[in-house]
C-alpha cells in the first residue's frame, strides 16, 4: 500500500511540475488587460443607460467611420435592456442613413433608413474594405464576445463559479486595447495587441466627443463607454437573461428542497 501512496504522491508532484513549467512558458506574452468594474457584471448586473447612450455616441462619431454594426437594427437601440433611446430619436437617427433597396419596378435605389433597418454596410465585401484600409476593419456586432484573453491556470477555473463568475474578458480587452497606445511616437503600437503592431492608429483622444451629460471627456472614459456599448451590442438580451435566470434559480432551489424531503420520506422505510 505504501508504494502506491508514493506513486500517487509522485504523480501529484509530476502534475505540479508540468503546470509550473508550462505556466512559465506562457508568461512573457502580451500584457493581460486590467479587470474593470462594469455595471453589467455579475448575476444582478444591468447596463447603465447613460453609459450605453454615451458609448453609442462615441461609436457613431469615431468608430463608425470604419467599423460596421451589421447585426444590430436601429430599432434595437430603443429596446428594453439597451440604450433605450425614444422611438422618435430612433426614427430621426435611422433617417440619417441611406439604405440600398429596390423600387417597385425593380430599379436599385437609395432610400432613407427606417427603424427596422440594420446598420448598413460600408463596403460591398471585406476585400473592398481591405483595399481601402489595408486590412478589413472588423464588424462590431459581436466584437465584445469575439475577443478575450485567458487569465491562466488556476484563475480561469474560478471564472465559472458563483460569486467569482467573470464573463467580461472580451469587453475588458476592448477597453484595454483602446487605451493601450502608450508610445506617443508610434500611434500603431499597442500594449495589449498580440504582436503590438496594430493597423488601427490610436483612435481616441481627450475632448474628441462632446458629452451632453457632463461626464468627463477623457480618453479612458470614452474607452469605457464605447466598450460597454459594444458589450450590449453583442449581448442585447443580457438583462432579460439574468432576470430570467434569477427566477429559474429561485424555482429550482425551492424545488430541490422539496425533492430532497420527498426522497427522504420515501426512503425512510427502505433502510
Amino acid at each position: 500500500m505504501k508504494t502506491f501512496k508514493s506513486i500517487f504522491t509522485a504523480a501529484l508532484i509530476l502534475g505540479a511540475a508540468v503546470v509550473a513549467t508550462t505556466s512559465a512558458n506562457a508568461a512573457g506574452e502580451v500584457e493581460k488587460p486590467t479587470r474593470q468594474s462594469w455595471s453589467f457584471g455579475g448575476p444582478f448586473g444591468k447596463f447603465d443607460r447613460g453609459q450605453l447612450q454615451r458609448g453609442f455616441q462615441v461609436y457613431r462619431e469615431v468608430c463608425a467611420a470604419c467599423h460596421t454594426l451589421n447585426k444590430v437594427a436601429f430599432r434595437n437601440l430603443a429596446d428594453k435592456g439597451g440604450p433605450e433611446f425614444s422611438d422618435s430619436q430612433i426614427k430621426a437617427l435611422a433617417a440619417e442613413y441611406k439604405i440600398k433597396d429596390f423600387d417597385d419596378k425593380g430599379e436599385p435605389i437609395e432610400r432613407d433608413g427606417r427603424a427596422a433597418d440594420r446598420f448598413p454596410k460600408l463596403f460591398v465585401n471585406s476585400d473592398a474594405a481591405a483595399a481601402v484600409h489595408g486590412v478589413a476593419p472588423p464588424d462590431f456586432s459581436v466584437i465584445a464576445k469575439a475577443r478575450g484573453y485567458s487569465r491562466g491556470f488556476p484563475l480561469f477555473i474560478l471564472d465559472a463559479f458563483p460569486g467569482m463568475a467573470y464573463q467580461e474578458h472580451g469587453v475588458d480587452y476592448v477597453a484595454a486595447l483602446l487605451t493601450g497606445y502608450t508610445k506617443p511616437d508610434d500611434l500603431n503600437w499597442n500594449k495589449y495587441f498580440p504582436g503590438h503592431a496594430i493597423k488601427m492608429a490610436k483612435p481616441l483622444s481627450a475632448d474628441q466627443v462632446a458629452y451632453a451629460d457632463g461626464t468627463p471627456t477623457t480618453e479612458a472614459q470614452y474607452a469605457k463607454d464605447v466598450s460597454a456599448f459594444l458589450y450590449w451590442a453583442a449581448e442585447p438580451k443580457m438583462e432579460e437573461r439574468k432576470r430570467t435566470g434569477l427566477n429559474v434559480m429561485l424555482f429550482l432551489l425551492v424545488f430541490a428542497g422539496l425533492m430532497y424531503f420527498t426522497k427522504k420520506k420515501i426512503w425512510a422505510d427502505a433502510h
Partner: protein
C-alpha cells in the same frame, strides 16, 4: 423487458389494449416495478440525467433548426438572428450549446462510475459496448454541431479533424475529399454536417433504447459489485425509490445547467467562434471543445500523423475491450485497494490530458502529453490485465443486503465465498 412485470391494467379498456399491445406493461416493468439494487449511491443517477439531456438537446435542436440556415454565407448571421430576433432564441441557443457540455459532464461521470465499480464486467459486456457506441455517436454529433455556427473555430476545427482521415494510407486523400464534398471544407461540408447533426441524435435514441434494454436484462451493477441474489432482500422497486432519488439528483444537475445558461453562457465556448469563418485566416491556436481535449492531446502527443490518428481513435476503441482486459474477479474498486489508487491516478491523468489539449503543442507540453498518454494506454493494456492476477482484494459482502447492513454497522459482514 426482463419479465418482472406483474402489471394488470385497472380499467376494461386498459385490459383490452394490454392484450393486444402490452406496451403499458413494458413501461410498468421497465420504470415502475423494475427492481434496483438497494445500495445504489448517487453515482447511479447520471443515467437519468443523460436521458434528460438527450431529450432536451433534441427539443432545443429542433427549434433552433427552424431558424438556422445551413449556408456558408448565412449560417453565422442566422445564429445571430436567433440570438437577437427569435423569441427566446438566446435561451434555446445557450441551452443547446451548454447542453452539449452538460451532456458530456454527465457521460464522463457515468463512464468513470462504470470504471470504478467494474460495471463493464460479465454479464454487462454488451451493455458496456453499447455505451461505448453511444459515446462515439455523441462525439460525432457534438463535433458536427460545433461546425454549424460557422465561426472561426467551427471552420478550422472541421478542417483539422476531417484532415485526419487523409493520414489513412492510399485512400486517405480520396476519403477526405469525399467527406468534404469538394477540395476543402466549404458549403457542401456545412450542408452534410447539418443533415447528419440532425440524424445522429435519433440514432442515439435507438442505441440508448438498446442500452436500457440490455441494462434491464442483466440488472444494474451496484457499489458492492455483487449480483442480486434475493429480489426481496436486495432490491427496491424503481418507482418510487429510484424515481425519487433520480429526480432529486436531476434538479441539482439542472441548477448547474441553469447557472451556465443564464450567468456564464460563453464560459465553455471560445471567443474566436464569434468571428465568422474565414478560410484565409488561421486562428493562433485551434482548440476543440473542452470535452475533446484529452483525445486531442493524445493525437498531438504522437510524432507521426497516422500514429496520432490511430492513438486517438484507439484511446476510445480500447474502452470496448475492457470487459476482457480487466482480469479481476472482483468488480468494485471498494474492495480493490491497489486498483483504486491506479483508478484515481487515471482520473488525474485524464484531466491533465484535457489541460494539455488546450495548450500549444510545443516544448514541455508535448513531453507531458506523451507521459500522460503512456499512462492512459498503460492503465488499460498493462495495469488492468496484470492487477487482476496480483492484487489481493478485500473481503466482498455475500449479498447486497449484507453490504447495506454492514454500512449501518449492526451486522458483521460475512466474507464472500
Amino acid at each position: 423487458m426482463s419479465g418482472h412485470s406483474t402489471y394488470v391494467p385497472q380499467s376494461a379498456i386498459g385490459r383490452w389494449f394490454e392484450s393486444r399491445l402490452p406496451i403499458l406493461g413494458l413501461m410498468h416493468g421497465s420504470f415502475v416495478s423494475y427492481p434496483t439494487p438497494r445500495n445504489l449511491n448517487y453515482m447511479w443517477t447520471f443515467g437519468a440525467m443523460l436521458s434528460f439531456m438527450l431529450v432536451a438537446q433534441i427539443i432545443t435542436g429542433i427549434v433552433l433548426a427552424m431558424h438556422y440556415t445551413p449556408h456558408v454565407d448565412f449560417a453565422f448571421a442566422s445564429v445571430e438572428h436567433i440570438m437577437r430576433d427569435v423569441n427566446w432564441g438566446w435561451f434555446m441557443r445557450y441551452a443547446h450549446a451548454n447542453g452539449a457540455s452538460m451532456f458530456f459532464i454527465a457521460v464522463y461521470m457515468h463512464m468513470f462510475r462504470g470504471l470504478y465499480y467494474g460495471s463493464y464486467k460479465a454479464p454487462r459486456e454488451v451493455l458496456w459496448i453499447l455505451g461505448v457506441i453511444i459515446f462515439l455517436l455523441m462525439m460525432a454529433t457534438a463535433f458536427m454541431g460545433y461546425v454549424l455556427p460557422w465561426g472561426q473555430m467551427s471552420f478550422w476545427g472541421a478542417t483539422v479533424i476531417t484532415n485526419l482521415f487523409s493520414a489513412i494510407p492510399l485512400v486517405g486523400e480520396a476519403i477526405t475529399t469525399w467527406l468534404w464534398g469538394g477540395y476543402s471544407v466549404d458549403n457542401p461540408t456545412l450542408n452534410r454536417f447539418f443533415s447528419l447533426h440532425y440524424l445522429l441524435p435519433f440514432m442515439l435514441v435507438g442505441i440508448v433504447i438498446l442500452h436500457v434494454w440490455a441494462l434491464h436484462v442483466v440488472g444494474q451493477n451496484n457499489p458492492a459489485g455483487v449480483e442480486v441474489k434475493n429480489v426481496q432482500r436486495d432490491t427496491l422497486a424503481f418507482t418510487p425509490y429510484a424515481t425519487a432519488k433520480d429526480s432529486f439528483a436531476l434538479v441539482l444537475f439542472l441548477i448547474v445547467f441553469a447557472w451556465f445558461i443564464f450567468y456564464v453562457p460563453n464560459y465553455l465556448g471560445h471567443a474566436d467562434n464569434y468571428i465568422e469563418a474565414n478560410p484565409l485566416v488561421t486562428p493562433a491556436h485551434i482548440v476543440p471543445e473542452w470535452y475533446f481535449l484529452p483525445f486531442y492531446a493524445i493525437l498531438r502527443a504522437i510524432p507521426s500523423k497516422l500514429g496520432g490518428v490511430v492513438a486517438m481513435f484507439g484511446s476510445i476503441a480500447v474502452l470496448a475491450f475492457l470487459p476482457w482486459l480487466d482480469t479481476s474477479k472482483v468488480k468494485s474498486a471498494s474492495f480493490r485497494p491497489v486498483y483504486k489508487v491506479f483508478f484515481w491516478v487515471f482520473v488525474l491523468v485524464s484531466i491533465g490530458l484535457g489541460y494539455l489539449g488546450a495548450m500549444p503543442a510545443e516544448g514541455g507540453y508535448v513531453i507531458a502529453a506523451r507521459i500522460l498518454t503512456a499512462y492512459y494506454f498503460g492503465f488499460f493494456l498493462l495495469i488492468m490485465p496484470l492487477l487482476g492476477m496480483f492484487e489481493t482484494p478485500k473481503a466482498v459482502p455475500a449479498t447486497i443486503a449484507d453490504a447495506v447492513l454492514a454500512k449501518r454497522g449492526n451486522v458483521v459482514m460475512n466474507p464472500a465465498e
